[in-house]
Amino acid sequence: MTEATAAPAPQALRPPRSQWRDVWDQFRTHKGALAGLTVFIFIVLFVAVGPLIWRISPTASPTDALTLIRSKNMGPSWAHPLGTDQLARDLLARMMAGGKISIAVGLTAMALSIFLGTLVGVLAGYFRRLDGPLMRLTDLFLALPLLPLLLVMMLLFRDPIASRLGVEAGTFLLIVSAIGITSWMQCARIVRGEVLALKEREFVLAAKSIGTPPRRMILRHILPNIMSPIMVAATLGIANAIITESALSFLGLGFPPDFPTWGRLLNDAVDLMQETPGLVIFPGIAISLTVLSVNYIGDGLRDALDPRIRGR
């Protein structure tokens, strides 16, 4: 008798499944998102671990003229799997170095834009007095012609900042802050909407009634509940930042030629595309693949984080 009643108990007390486990299970059912994640991890490994294995320097160029002329603009070979560029530098090594900068720019600019967007969105949604002015500011930023302004900012501030902080750090800082400052508006709008809806919920009222101060209210109760839209905005923000950076570099207003980003490699190779199309194709494919995979991850995340779709 006692055994019979004890048997079903462990089943009833099955450990609760965590929310992130559910999200992951839903995410796995989206084939595109899974493929995107695989490709993105592969690309990150390629740029992060690749240089440790493929030890040719991305800036090494033969010093004597004869070797330079012989070994420049070569097609793929065993010594140089992707060929060499117009100064006989190894394209594979340059792709790794360029990808590192491109992806770093994408991640940092996304972090900045998400931080600004969340800050503005939460403040506007939570404090009614700030709502009007902050949203007008957002509308104003949305009405700015962003690409022309980015180009102007790059042109005007690149040299002064580079001379103060060094070329690489200065350009990186400028590009990241320029992209961050011009891309937070969508995130702010989404976050504000979510906060406005959350504010009407009972648990917020309950927390307020026991005297939770606004700061803890936002950090403890509001922010964890709006993580999903922020995460989706963040993934799409990476894609946007990578495209913007490569567009700037492509127009010659991004990183200087010594720091090969994917956009810069593409820009350098455009004049040579008739003789060596590989120089154009490989960086272009790298940019496109990265952005495509990130967009697919965003698509899958949006489905996985939506509780109405999850579990169906």
Binding site: A143, L146, L251, V280
Partner: protein
């Protein structure tokens, strides 16, 4: 509706003024020197005279107000004079480009046709491709057509236009030799062969931009159709015994087009911005290319005016989208 339109029109004035101020301050307080490109051998007093001649001697607020006056008063007056042969603007100073030494708007008017033919055509084609694809994708959700359509639109959305442009040049102009890779602006369409030539040189830039636009619009179209296909009124229409054609193409399509039309209107200004890159790839000398050369040449009046024109376009088309939304959807009348 009319009061809403008027209120929005009045509200957009301070927005435009603020944007113009931001653009102006950004360009004028930047730590660069507009004379930096001049040779170092120019003596300081001559340099000071040159600054004076460029109008840089006056304080910032004077220059700002002068520029505003020129943009909003002198240039429209001049356009009026030009159109009706009057002489209201005689003796008034227009915005002068530093690199061309001629009025900024004269140069812009020369460049607009190229941008409008290439960009306008590509937007039109993009919309015409996107709407049927969106309808079919949503109607047969998860079919092979939908899968392929979604995948292609994801690609069009993700691959930057400068890469698609370069790939098209490599394929169609280097390998196959079908289309010229450089846009010839001097070409005048007078007869059939020159028309064919014009079509050939427009083909690639239009393809690139059309793919990009179609990708974005078809996603919206599909999502909007999917929303509407699940509505109760669709079931009612089917229950009344209406044909599938009428249900989808009359009832659902009309309702799903409402958000898409506003998206199309909102996309118009960003097209001018996006064309900056495509014009650079195909060497079309339109507005985008003008902006890039002006930026490189430190031609501040030109950059300032062009950027502000882009901003005006954005504000105007935002307004157009809002009004269209109210006109098309009786539930949203802002009254």
């Amino acid at each position: 509706m009319l009061t809403f339109t008027i209120r929005r029109l009045i509200l957009s004035i301070p927005v435009l003024l603020l944007i113009s101020l931001i653009i102006f301050l950004l360009l004028n307080f930047a730590p660069g020197d507009p004379l930096a490109n001049q040779p170092l051998t120019i003596p300081p007093e001559v340099r000071a005279k040159m600054r004076e001649a460029l109008g840089l001697g006056a304080p910032v607020y004077v220059r700002y107000i002068l520029w505003l006056k020129q943009f909003f008063w002198v240039e429209p007056l001049h356009a009026f004079d030009w159109a009706f042969g009057t002489h209201f603007s005689a003796g008034m100073e227009r915005i002068l480009s530093w690199q061309f030494r001629s009025p900024v708007f004269d140069v812009i008017v020369q460049r607009i046709p190229q941008t409008l033919t290439v960009v306008g055509m590509s937007y039109l084609i993009g919309v015409l491709i996107a709407i049927p694809i969106g309808i079919l994708s949503a109607y047969r959700q998860y079919s092979w057509f939908d899968q392929i359509g979604t995948f292609i639109s994801m690609i069009g959305f993700s691959v930057p236009t400068f890469f698609t442009g370069v790939v098209l040049i490599v394929v169609f102009s280097v390998e196959l030799n079908w289309f010229p890779s450089i846009y010839d602006t001097n070409l005048k369409v007078v007869d059939w062969p020159s028309f064919v030539k014009q079509v050939q040189q427009m083909a690639m830039p239009v393809m690139v931009l059309a793919l990009y636009n179609a990708a974005q619009i078809s996603r919206f179209m599909r999502a909007s159709m999917l929303d509407n296909l699940q509505q109760d009124y669709v079931r009612t229409a089917r229950a009344k015994g209406m044909g599938e054609r009428v249900v989808v193409l009359t009832h659902v399509l009309r309702n799903s087009l409402i958000p898409v039309v506003t998206v199309i209107a909102l996309g118009v200004p960003s097209i001018f911005g996006g064309a900056i890159i495509t014009e650079q790839v195909f060497k079309v000398n339109g507005l985008g290319q003008l902006l890039i050369t002006a930026i490189y040449a430190d031609d501040i009046p030109m950059v300032q005016t062009l950027t502000f024109i882009f901003a005006v376009l954005i504000v105007v088309f935002n307004l157009v989208a809002d009004i269209l939304y109210g006109l098309l959807d009786p539930r949203i009348r802002y009254d």
